[in-house]
């Protein structure tokens, strides 16, 4: 102890042991991990032509990682689905679904291999916000992400995530490419108005990064884990998991008057099978549709605009090319209901009121009488004959 050199040697060698284990040892053990196919053959070899995972992120997503890092998001968000094990039937330990998976933060435990292609691995150590390892799998809608990044409180009322208005250009009027952001829930007075934001390149990078965060593939060492969730029945189903923010439209006061229609409409929207509209299969619980296949209902002029046109579509369906929010779609929509066109006036009024007042939409309610009127006016139309966009516009002119 008295010779400083021997002393230093002693204390440095205790440090070196730990270093040998956690740095050198760990590096030897898994420093050479590389992407792998989802399932290996029984002899441990990789199937020929198998796709390898994880995939590299796009360039903009990698830039987004830098932004994510520089804003310090890692302070509150982890990016790891933890591995939980339990005693198996043979006394050996087996993987089980833990609370992270039950919370819907992933389908399986994160593995070292998932991170081998990332420049900045930000596992994090505190969850004030939810885990983001699979954020891109659950929240894939760009507008939602931008709205959340700009002001989380406009979507999640109790969120304590700080807003990032400095990433956006804000205006009072809608313009090309703007995204509308509702006022925070519970705000009043001057603050209580919709803002229109244009994302900066940095915001786009972050959103690209968040969407790229997903471990939606299996790995040989970590297959998807079964949870105790009930299996979805195929015949008549109400799709669960409509986010809460669906229920926070622009003005809570106006909503009170139509609350009955809203809840009935939500049921029609989500129910698949006789008595339901089944809208949710294509237009999604988020009202955002599926990119390039099914148009969004949220912020769509087709939904918020002309009521008559909307009712006509609900009665007979729509096909051919249409433009929604600047994007062209070419598909087929049968009239809602099983069989198609079987919804009653009341059901159509309810579901239209619901879609016109959800996901940030705010438009007047639709009454059963209005539906009956339109149904009467086009009663000569052949059954199941879907509208086209051109036909709809000429038809409404004729009526005028």
């Amino acid at each position: 102890m008295n010779n400083i050199f021997k002393f230093s040697f002693g204390i440095l060698s205790t440090l070196a042991f730990a270093w040998l284990a956690f740095v050198v040892g760990a590096n030897l053990q898994y420093g050479d991990l590389s992407p792998e196919s989802q399932i290996l053959e029984d002899d441990g070899s990789r199937p020929p032509d198998a796709e390898l995972f994880p995939k590299d992120m796009s360039g903009i997503a990698k830039q987004g990682a830098e932004e994510y890092l520089s804003l310090g998001c890692v302070t509150c968000h982890t990016q790891q689905v933890r591995l939980f094990t339990k005693k198996g039937p043979n006394g050996n330990r087996v993987i089980e679904a833990g609370i992270d998976i039950e919370r819907g933060w992933g389908k399986r435990a994160s593995m070292a291999r998932d991170y081998v292609l990332q420049d900045h691995v930000m596992l994090g150590n505190t969850r004030v916000g939810p885990d983001l390892a699979n954020f891109g799998m659950n929240e894939n809608d760009q507008n939602w992400l931008h709205q959340h990044l700009f002001e989380p409180q406009s979507l999640v009322p109790d969120s304590i995530c700080p807003p990032s208005p400095f990433l956006y250009e804000v205006s009072d009027q809608p313009k090309d490419g703007t995204i509308s952001v509702l006022p925070p829930v519970g705000s009043s007075g001057d603050e209580n108005k919709t803002r229109y934001i244009i994302p900066s390149i940095r915001a786009n990078r972050i959103v690209a990064y968040l969407r790229a965060l997903k471990q939606d593939y299996e790995l040989p060492e970590s297959p998807f884990v079964e949870t105790d969730e009930k299996t979805i029945e195929t015949n008549t189903t109400v799709i669960e998991g409509i986010p809460d923010w669906v229920n926070y439209p622009a003005s809570p006061k106006a909503l009170a008057d139509i609350s009955e229609q809203m809840s009935a409409g939500k049921e029609v929207y989500t129910k698949i099978g006789p008595g339901g509209g089944g809208c949710v299969t294509c237009h999604q619980p988020t009202g955002l549709g599926v990119p390039l296949a099914f148009p969004p209902l949220a912020a769509s002029d087709w939904v918020k605009g002309d009521k008559d046109r909307l009712i006509k579509i609900s009665l007979f369906g729509l096909m051919g090319e249409i433009e929604v929010n600047g994007v062209n779609y070419n598909g087929v929509m049968t009239a809602p209901g099983i069989p198609p066109g079987s919804l009653t006036d009341q059901q159509i009024a309810d579901v239209l009121t619901f879609v016109r007042n959800s996901w940030g939409n705010s438009a007047s309610a639709v009454s059963p009488a209005e539906v009956a009127e339109i149904r009467d006016s086009i009663k000569d139309r052949a059954p199941m004959q879907m509208w086209t966009a051109a036909e709809l516009s000429s038809h409404s002119k004729q009526v005028q």
Partner: protein, 469 residues
Amino acid sequence: MKETPEQVIDRSAKIVVSFFVASAGLWLLAAALLAYVAAAKLTDPFFLSSYEFFTYGKIKIAQANAFVYGWGGNSIFAVTLWIIARLSQVEIRGRILLLFSGVIWNMAISFGLLGILDGHMNSHEMLEMPTIVWPALFISYAIFAFLALVIHRSRKNPNTIAPQWFILASLIWFPALFLIAWNGLEINPARGTLPSVLSLWFGQSLIWLWLTPMALGAAYYIIPSIIGKAIDKYYLAIFGFWCIAALAPWSVVHHLEGGPVPMWIPAVGTVMSIAMIFPIAVASTNFHATAFRDIGKVWNNLPLRFVIFGTISYTLSSYIGVIFSLPDVAKLTQFSIINEFHFNQRVYGFFSMIIFGMVYHMLPKITGKEIGKSAKSFHFWTSAFGVLILLLAYLIGGLTHGVLAQQTSLDWSSSVITSVQPYFKITKYAFVILGLSQLVFVINVWKVIFPNPFAALFESDIEKKEKTA
């Protein structure tokens, strides 16, 4: 009148130690301010939200860095130099070089923190400062460590005792850790989660191998020195020391429980954490058995009261740490704000309290001026109260957070975090109390170091002249 050898040493330490204590005080205030802003942002997300400079993530990280490197670093410089010089019975030499290294250290941290706030952050725990300031940090610490070792080598009595072991170990471990982390993270970076393991190991080891031995060394020095009796069961101290040296660098990785790393890494960490109860028991026995031979002195002597608060806090926090490293408990609380509890318990309740005591003990000897008794007392009671409130809030809040997060039926924002929200509010008020107490501390210290503003100007002139000379 002839000066005693101790007075000669104190005189040689005057400018250097005063400089480090004064700048440590400033960093303490900066950290307190940042801590308040961070806590306020958690309770009101709109607070300062339109300035990119002050996002919560940045403030939080800047606060930890200002606290550990700014306050911790500077006070370690001061206390190390003084205790080493006193125990070696040698004057402090290389004073200009020491001041120079101190200036570089403080400038590097200032640039580093500005870098963090400006968005040039690293993803490595406790090494978030931009890589560009790392060489400056390392060089300035190397100069300081070298000079401190030179003083130690020229000691009068060839025998070394417990405070020296701990302080020298802290002195040598920091640059070693820093080099390992630098090499593994920047010079030869590995892929995947390997850097995460390394940076977690560094960040936690920094507290266990740099701050902890420093504070333990100070306690081993100050307790017998004020009580006037040798350490009780002193023969255990060497066992305790080597246990910490051997176990602490292994134990810290238990934080990775369930993470995307080989399972043996957190498991080894857990085993070693449990083994840590022995060195903790040793230090606790040594300190408390000695101190409680003269309880009246513990109560009446303010520096000793600070130090005993710190050692009790060390014992408790370490045992609590052992409990929270058990796998079944870790799964519950791993990602909750209990982490804040551990950090603040260690750097606030333990390290800082001992350093406060140490500063109050050595500053009057160095400057020859007494610090006002009521001011000191006010500082003690506000710190003790503030730390207790803060830690209780983080502990109960962390448990709430962890337990509610297990209830998968509860919504994250509207149920889990909302339930933790009241504790965030409490911590905000605790940081106000602590900020106030630290302001008193800094005023106490600055009043002694710079008796009046003009003298302060005059003295800093002398320092400058010495530097240029």
